[in-house]
C-alpha cells in the first residue's frame, strides 16, 4: 500500500492561512490503513485547525468527509457539490488522491495534508517499511521475494557491496543488509543457484510513466461477428 504521513501541523496551518472555509477530505484506503488519513485523523485534524484558529480569533469553517478512494474519479465526482461550499480542499489522501481531486474539481484549490512517502508495509504497529520502488522491471523472482532495488541503500541488484558487516548495512546500521536477507532466504528455499544469474541494469524510466493494457481497454466501436 501507499504509505503517507501527516505533515507537521504548523505547515498545514500555514498552507491554509488565507482560507475561511476548509474541507478536510480523508481517504478510506491505504492512508486509513497506515493511520494517516482515515476518518479518525480527519476529525482530529479538523478539530485541531478550529482550535488553532480560535486561539488567533480567526473565524473558520472546517468541514469533514472521507472519500472511499481519492484516486477514483467516480468517488471524487460524488463530492463535487459538497466541495463547492468551501474555499479550499485539504486532502488527507496520498499524492494520487490530491491530484485526482485537483483534476476533477478545477475551481477549488486542493492542498496536501500528507507527505506521501513510499510503497510499503507495516512491520509492526505504527511502523512502516518501504519495500517497493516501483522500478517497472521486477526481479523478485531471482531474489527470494526480497527487493534489493528498494531495500539496499545502494540499490545493488547483483549481490552486496563490500561494506556489509555482521548482516548490517554500512550506510545505516539500523537496517539489515538486504543481500544477507536474500542469501538467508535462498538457503531456506534451497535455491542458492539463483544467485548465479545476472540481473540486467535497469533503464531509468522517464516520468511520468503510463501503463496501457491494450487487452483491457474498452474498444471505441464494437466489432461485429467476433
Amino acid at each position: 500500500m501507499v504509505i503517507a504521513e501527516i505533515k507537521p501541523f504548523e505547515e498545514i496551518k500555514n498552507l491554509l492561512k488565507k482560507y475561511k472555509k476548509i474541507l478536510v477530505a480523508g481517504c478510506g484506503s491505504c492512508v486509513t490503513v497506515c493511520l494517516s488519513g482515515g476518518k479518525k485523523q480527519v476529525e482530529l485534524l479538523a478539530s485541531a485547525l478550529r482550535t488553532a484558529r480560535k486561539i488567533e480569533s480567526d473565524d473558520v469553517v472546517v468541514g469533514e468527509m472521507v472519500i472511499p478512494r481519492q484516486c477514483e474519479p467516480k468517488f471524487v465526482d460524488m463530492i463535487k457539490d459538497e466541495a463547492g461550499k468551501y474555499e479550499v480542499i485539504l486532502s488527507m489522501g496520498c499524492g494520487a488522491g490530491v491530484q485526482e481531486i485537483a483534476e476533477r474539481i478545477e475551481n477549488i484549490p486542493v492542498l496536501p495534508a500528507l507527505n506521501t512517502t513510499f510503497i510499503g508495509m507495516a512491520d509492526e504497529q505504527g511502523q512502516y517499511l518501504e519495500v517497493c520502488a516501483a522500478c517497472g522491471d521486477c526481479i523478485l523472482s531471482m531474489t527470494g521475494g526480497i527487493c534489493p532495488v528498494t531495500r539496499c541503500a545502494k540499490s545493488l541488484i547483483n549481490g552486496p557491496c563490500g561494506g556489509s558487516q555482521g548482516g548490517l548495512c554500512e550506510v545505516s546500521k539500523d537496517n539489515p543488509c538486504v543481500w544477507q536477507l536474500i542469501y538467508d532466504r535462498l538457503v531456506k528455499l534451497n535455491m542458492l543457484y539463483l544467485l548465479k544469474g545476472i540481473s540486467q541494469p535497469k533503464t531509468r524510466s522517464v516520468h511520468p510513466r503510463r501503463m496501457v493494457r491494450e487487452d483491457l481497454k474498452l474498444k471505441k466501436e464494437s466489432t461485429k461477428g467476433v
Partner: protein, 650 residues
C-alpha cells in the same frame, strides 16, 4: 455469532427481560431508567425481585468466572428505590372492546396490564377479597411482604383497570353471561387446590393443607399447630409452611421429602435458610400412613431410594423394603402440590384436563370457546410467578390479535450468546458477589418481618458493576479498512482478521472499547456506550459550561466503574462526563473541548493504579493522553492542559 444475539440471562427469562439493560442502568446509579426497562415487560418488579426463580442467574456468564450477578436482588433494589415514583406509561389507541379477566393473580393482572396498555377496557373478576392470588395468600410475609405485592398491584391498577372482588366464577357469574358484555375473556383461575397423598389416616384432625395454613396466616391469624410439626413436600410452599411454623412457636419442625435436596423445587438456598432457622429436613422419606387416636400423633414414613431401572430417562425413587419408621408429631402440613379448581365452572364446553386444568389449543391459550382464552397455573398447573406473568403476556397479545383480527405472532427462538471461552475467563478480574443483608436469626424466628433486607446503594452498584455487559461489545461496520489495528490492540485477543474485514466475536468481547478508540476508520462502535451517546454526553457538558458563561471552564472525565454516580464534590467551573473506563476517552474527546473554549481536560481518579476492570486499560489511557498533549503543543496550547489526576495527587 450474530451481533444481535441475546445475553443468556435475557434468553433464560420467560418474558425476555432486558437484564443487561437494567443492571447497566443500576451500575450508573440510574434506578429510574432501570425500573423503566423492567416495567416494559414486567408489571411485578417488587414481587419478582423477591421470589423469582431466577433462571437468569443460573444462565449468567459471570458464573463462569466467580458467581452470577444477583439479578433478582437488583430488580428488587430498583423497585424499592422507585416505589414512590409517579407512574408514567403510554397507552395505545383506545379501543371500544371490553375484556374480562377472571382471576386477579399474577397472570390475570399481567394480562389486564398489557391489555390496558394496548388500549382496551379491562375488568378483573377476583373470587377473594384481595387481589394477588398466591402472592397474597400463599407466600409468607417474611419472604414477600404484602406491601411489596401492594406496590406492584397499585401500579397496575393506577392504569385504570376495573376490579370486581368477591366474584366467583360459576357462583356469581358465568362465562356465557360475560361474553354478552365482553368481547374477550381471559381465564386465569390459578391452581390452589391441594393434592392429598394416598395414605391411610389422611382425614384425621391435625392434618392441614399448606395452602389453608398459609392463607390463615396471611389473613392475620396465628395458628399454633403444636410443638412438633411434620411438613410433607419439597416445594417452596413446603419450606414456607415450615418456616412459618417456626415463627408461630413450634420448635420441632421437620420437612419430609421423597427425593434428595438436588431434586427439590425449593432449591438449596431456601433449604439453607430454613435450616438456619431450625427447620429439619429428612430427604428420601415419604409418608405412608398417618396414625393417631382421634388426632394425628405420628407419621409413618418409608425410606426411598433412587431406582436404577433402565428404560426411563427420568430418575425415579422407590420405597426401600422394610424401612418403615415413625415420626411423632402434633400436626401435619401437606404441601405436595396443587391442582386447579375448575369443577365449579358451569360451562361444560370448556375442555378440562385430567387434573382440573383447562386444556388450551395452542401456546397462546386459545380455548375451544371463541373469544375465551386461558393461562397461568390453571393451564400449566402450579408454576413460578414469572411463568404466570409470561402466560398473562401471551394471552394479552393473543386477545389483542383476536380482537383486531391480526395474524398470530411469529415465535422465534432467540439466538443466544455462547459461553465465554476459558481463555477469556482467565483474563477477567474476579469480583465477589455482594451478600444480601439478612435479618438476624433470633429476630427472624419471632416475627414475619422480611428476612432479606435488600441491597444498600453501594452494594447494588458494586453488584451491578460486576455485570459483563454480555453482547454489548464492539461491532464493526462496513467502513472497516481491514487495517487490523483492532487485532493488534485487543487486550483479550477477541478481534481477529477475517477474510475481507476484521471480525470481533460479540460473544467473547468484553466491551472495553480499546479497538474503537484505535480504529482509524472509526468503523468500530461499542454498544455499551456508542460513539453517538458518548459525544452527546460531552456536548451536553460543554453546552452547560457555555450556557453558564464561564470564562474558564474545564472538562473532567471520570470512570463510571470508579465513581458510578459521579464525583461527590463539584468544583466551580468543572463539568464532568462519565465513561465506562477511561481508556474509552479518545484523543478526539481529549482535544475537542478546547475547540469549545475549555481551559483544561482532565481524567479524574482513574482506578488503574488499583485493580482495574479491563486488562491493560492503563496503557491506553497514557497513550491517549500523550497523543493529545502532542497535538495541543502543535496547536499552541500548554500540553499540561490535558492530564490524569490520580487520587493520591490531590
Amino acid at each position: 455469532m450474530s451481533i444481535s444475539a441475546m445475553p443468556p440471562c435475557q434468553a433464560a427469562c420467560p418474558i425476555y427481560t432486558d437484564v443487561r439493560g437494567y443492571v447497566s442502568a443500576i451500575s450508573r446509579g440510574d434506578v429510574e431508567t432501570a425500573i423503566g426497562i423492567i416495567r416494559q415487560v414486567n408489571p411485578f418488579p417488587s414481587v419478582c425481585g423477591r421470589i423469582c426463580i431466577r433462571a437468569c442467574e443460573s444462565a449468567c456468564r459471570r458464573g463462569q468466572i466467580d458467581e452470577p450477578i444477583a439479578i433478582a436482588a437488583l430488580k428488587r433494589f430498583a423497585a424499592d428505590q422507585t416505589k414512590d415514583l409517579k407512574s408514567s406509561f403510554k397507552r395505545g389507541p383506545f379501543y371500544n372492546e371490553k375484556v374480562a379477566v377472571i382471576g386477579g393473580g399474577p397472570s390475570g393482572l399481567t394480562a389486564a396490564h398489557d391489555l390496558t396498555l394496548l388500549g382496551y377496557n379491562v375488568t378483573v373478576f377476583e373470587a377473594h377479597k384481595e387481589l394477588g392470588g398466591m402472592l397474597s395468600r400463599g407466600i409468607p410475609e417474611y419472604r414477600l411482604p404484602k406491601s411489596a405485592v401492594k406496590t406492584d398491584i397499585d401500579y397496575i391498577l393506577s392504569m385504570g383497570i376495573e376490579v370486581k372482588t368477591g366474584m366467583v366464577l360459576g357462583r356469581d357469574f358465568s362465562i356465557d353471561e360475560l361474553l354478552k358484555d365482553y368481547q374477550a375473556v381471559f381465564l386465569a383461575l390459578g391452581s390452589e387446590r391441594s393434592i392429598f397423598p394416598k395414605c391411610k389416616g389422611i382425614e384425621m384432625p391435625g392434618i392441614i393443607t399448606a395452602v389453608e395454613f398459609l392463607k390463615q396466616v396471611s389473613e392475620g391469624h396465628r395458628p399454633y399447630l403444636g410443638e412438633s410439626v411434620v411438613v410433607v413436600g419439597g416445594g417452596h410452599t413446603a419450606v414456607d409452611a415450615a418456616r412459618t411454623c417456626i415463627r408461630l412457636g413450634s420448635h420441632d419442625v421437620t420437612v419430609i421429602y421423597r427425593r434428595t435436596v438436588k431434586e427439590m423445587p425449593a432449591g438449596k438456598g431456601e433449604v439453607d435458610e430454613a435450616e438456619h432457622e431450625g427447620v429439619k429436613f429428612k430427604f428420601l422419606t415419604a409418608p405412608v400412613e398417618f396414625i393417631g387416636n382421634g388426632r394425628v400423633e405420628k407419621v409413618r414414613c418409608v425410606k426411598m431410594q433412587l431406582s436404577h431401572s433402565s428404560g426411563s430417562k427420568r430418575q425415579s425413587f422407590l420405597p426401600v423394603k422394610d424401612s418403615e419408621f415413625d415420626i411423632n408429631t402434633d400436626a401435619v402440613i401437606l404441601a405436595i402440590g396443587y391442582n386447579p379448581k375448575t369443577d365449579s365452572i358451569e360451562e361444560v364446553e370448556i375442555i378440562s384436563g385430567k387434573k382440573g386444568t383447562i386444556v388450551v389449543k395452542d401456546e397462546l391459550g386459545t380455548t375451544n370457546i371463541k373469544g375465551v382464552f386461558a393461562g397461568g397455573d390453571v393451564v400449566s398447573g402450579p408454576q413460578s410467578v414469572i411463568h404466570a406473568i409470561a402466560s398473562g403476556k401471551k394471552a394479552a397479545d393473543a386477545i389483542h390479535r383476536y380482537l383486531r383480527n391480526l395474524p398470530p405472532k411469529e415465535i422465534e427462538e432467540p439466538v443466544v450468546l455462547r459461553p465465554l471461552d476459558e481463555r477469556i475467563v482467565s483474563l477477567i478480574i474476579k469480583a465477589v458477589r455482594q451478600k444480601m443483608p439478612m435479618l438476624p436469626t433470633e429476630e427472624r424466628i419471632k416475627s414475619f418481618k422480611e428476612v432479606q433486607l435488600g441491597f444498600t446503594w453501594d452494594q447494588a452498584i458494586l453488584c451491578a458493576q460486576r455485570c459483563l455487559n454480555c453482547g454489548a461489545g464492539a461491532v464493526i461496520s462496513e467502513d472497516c479498512a481491514a487495517c487490523f489495528n483492532c487485532v493488534l490492540v485487543c487486550p483479550y485477543g477477541v478481534a481477529t482478521a477475517g477474510e475481507e474485514k476484521a471480525q470481533i466475536d460479540i460473544s467473547q468481547c468484553q466491551a472495553c472499547g480499546i479497538c474503537a478508540s484505535e480504529c482509524p476508520a472509526s468503523a468500530i462502535d461499542v454498544k455499551l456506550e456508542t460513539r453517538e451517546v458518548s459525544r452527546k454526553k460531552l456536548k451536553k457538558a460543554v453546552e452547560t459550561a457555555k450556557k453558564e458563561e464561564l470564562k474558564d471552564f474545564s472538562i473532567n472525565f471520570y470512570c463510571q466503574y470508579e465513581q458510578p454516580t459521579g464525583p461527590s464534590e463539584k468544583k466551580k467551573g468543572t463539568y464532568t462526563v462519565g465513561k465506562p473506563c477511561m481508556a474509552r476517552v479518545s484523543v478526539y474527546q481529549l482535544i475537542q473541548p478546547f475547540e469549545e473554549g475549555s481551559k483544561a481536560v482532565e481524567i479524574h481518579k482513574c482506578g488503574h493504579k488499583k485493580d482495574c476492570r479491563f486488562k491493560g486499560c492503563e496503557k491506553w489511557i497514557i497513550e491517549h493522553i500523550e497523543r493529545a498533549q502532542k497535538m495541543l503543543k502543535d496547536i499552541g496550547i500548554d500540553a499540561d492542559s490535558v492530564k490524569v489526576i490520580y487520587e493520591d495527587d490531590k
